[in-house]
Amino acid sequence: MSVKVRVPTPLRRFTAGVDEVAADGDSVKAVLEDLERRHPGMRERLLDEKGDLRRFVNIYLNGDDIRFLSQLDSKVKDGDDISIVPAIAGGH
């Protein structure tokens, strides 16, 4: 599955400044692992040492917060949109 991932400003140093990148995987977790392979350094910013999503990171799958879906196990389909949004300005 190939998905589009929208990258927030603070993570664009890992994507050579690009705000949207492609990644593969059948779940959000798999997509994040692929992102790390393609853009090393991103994983640590998104996941904690236990592999859980950091509290201040929101991930939206086609506009829905994955915390209200199946978290990192949420399934993704070809062509889905994933947005990574820092909770720097608060709520979800």
Binding site: V7, V57, V85
Partner: protein
């Protein structure tokens, strides 16, 4: 680090009796400032040396609920005095939240329309408070953070520049001036000149620049220490990671004696600790300020460390700050303090 005067830094026990709220005001604007200074004792218990104390200025007591009331009032006052803000003009600025609330409140009190540009992911409490003051929120792309709001605000003004008065908190010297004239003198008075270290989070940098300047004008040995997130990807609302951000025009890093970086998760845990152990519920920037103040205090043999708690925590109850807090245990605080204590010992 600073050496402190020969006299004991301990303050009189009756320090709080000095703070007398104004019994009557003609405008809500007169209620801004003169916030209390609270000694933080319970979360630090057993870790600080006997001659070291930490105080926090509780800015949530401002009528708009945050330290930003001070800068908002001063920027509007000076705008009016210079004729830049006149009847018919709209007050417009970009903010991640608290300045928006402060401007909305000041605008309402003075009869001016206010429009606020902020990232769409600010907490819903903030959006509602801003609207409740009659101001109009304009949302910018959440992926672009607070810098995205700055850029959108510039675009809106460029379209009809005559319509707006932009306080421009990032570049307006009235912002640090507000703190030079109020926050600094209040701290000096409240500590009876015994302050040795001033620790404050850096967003626009108005608080640390203005307060720091005043304090150093009274005693050049006072150390002024800025607090910033430890990574560009962080969740500390209101704080800027300077190296990766649009640097505010009012920010002069050379005026700081030191900078301390704080991790988002440490700051969040400190918010839980302050609520459950100290009995004061604050926002994440206060958590970051307390982490940094503690790291400074742990390095000292004697000293009076003052920090700023920019607001209370009620505006953040719907935010990520509270994800997983039920799993937090008091032992976590002891572990963190022990870790910081070890690294403090290593550097002293």
């Amino acid at each position: 680090m600073a050496t402190i005067s020969q006299s004991s830094p301990r303050l009189p026990a009756d320090i709080s009796t000095e703070i007398v709220p104004a019994p009557r005001a003609n405008s809500v604007l007169e209620l801004i400032g003169n916030t209390p200074l609270l000694e933080i004792t319970r979360v630090t218990e057993g870790f600080l040396r006997a001659g070291v104390r930490i105080f926090a200025k509780i800015e949530g007591f401002n009528p708009g609920g945050s330290v930003k009331d001070r800068a908002a009032r001063k920027m509007i006052e000076i705008g009016l005095a210079r004729g830049d803000l006149r009847p018919g003009k709209v007050i417009l600025d970009s903010t991640s939240g608290n300045t928006g609330i402060a401007l909305a409140m000041v605008g309402a009190a003075l009869g001016y329309r206010v429009e606020i540009v902020m990232p769409a992911n600010v907490s819903r409490e903030r959006k509602k408070i801003i609207e409740a003051f009659g101001a109009k929120p304009i949302y910018s792309d959440p992926l672009e953070g607070s810098d995205g709001a700055i850029v959108l605000c510039r675009k809106i003004i460029a379209q009809t520049p005559d319509r707006y008065f932009k306080p421009d908190q990032y570049n307006n010297e009235a912002n640090p001036l507000a703190h030079f004239e109020s926050t600094g003198p209040e701290i000096w008075r409240q500590t009876r000149g015994q302050i040795t270290h001033f620790v404050a989070t850096v967003g626009t940098s108005g608080t640390i620049m203005g307060t720091g300047r005043f304090l150093k004008s009274r005693d050049h040995k006072i150390k002024v220490i800025g607090v910033e997130p430890d990574d560009p990807m962080h969740g500390l609302e209101g704080l800027k990671h300077m190296a990766s951000s649009i640097v505010p025009g009012i920010y002069h890093e050379d005026e700081l004696d030191d900078k301390i970086q704080v991790g988002t998760e440490d700051a969040y845990e400190m918010v839980y600790a302050l609520g459950q152990i100290e009995g004061i519920l604050v926002g994440q920037s206060s958590g970051a300020a307390m982490v940094a103040a503690l790291k400074v205090a742990l390095r000292l043999r004697e000293g009076c460390v003052v920090t700023i708690f920019p607001d209370f925590g009620d505006k953040y109850l719907s935010t990520n700050l509270w994800i997983g807090w039920q799993q937090w245990r008091r032992e976590r605080l002891r572990l963190l303090l022990s870790k910081w204590n070890e690294s403090a010992s290593a550097t002293t």
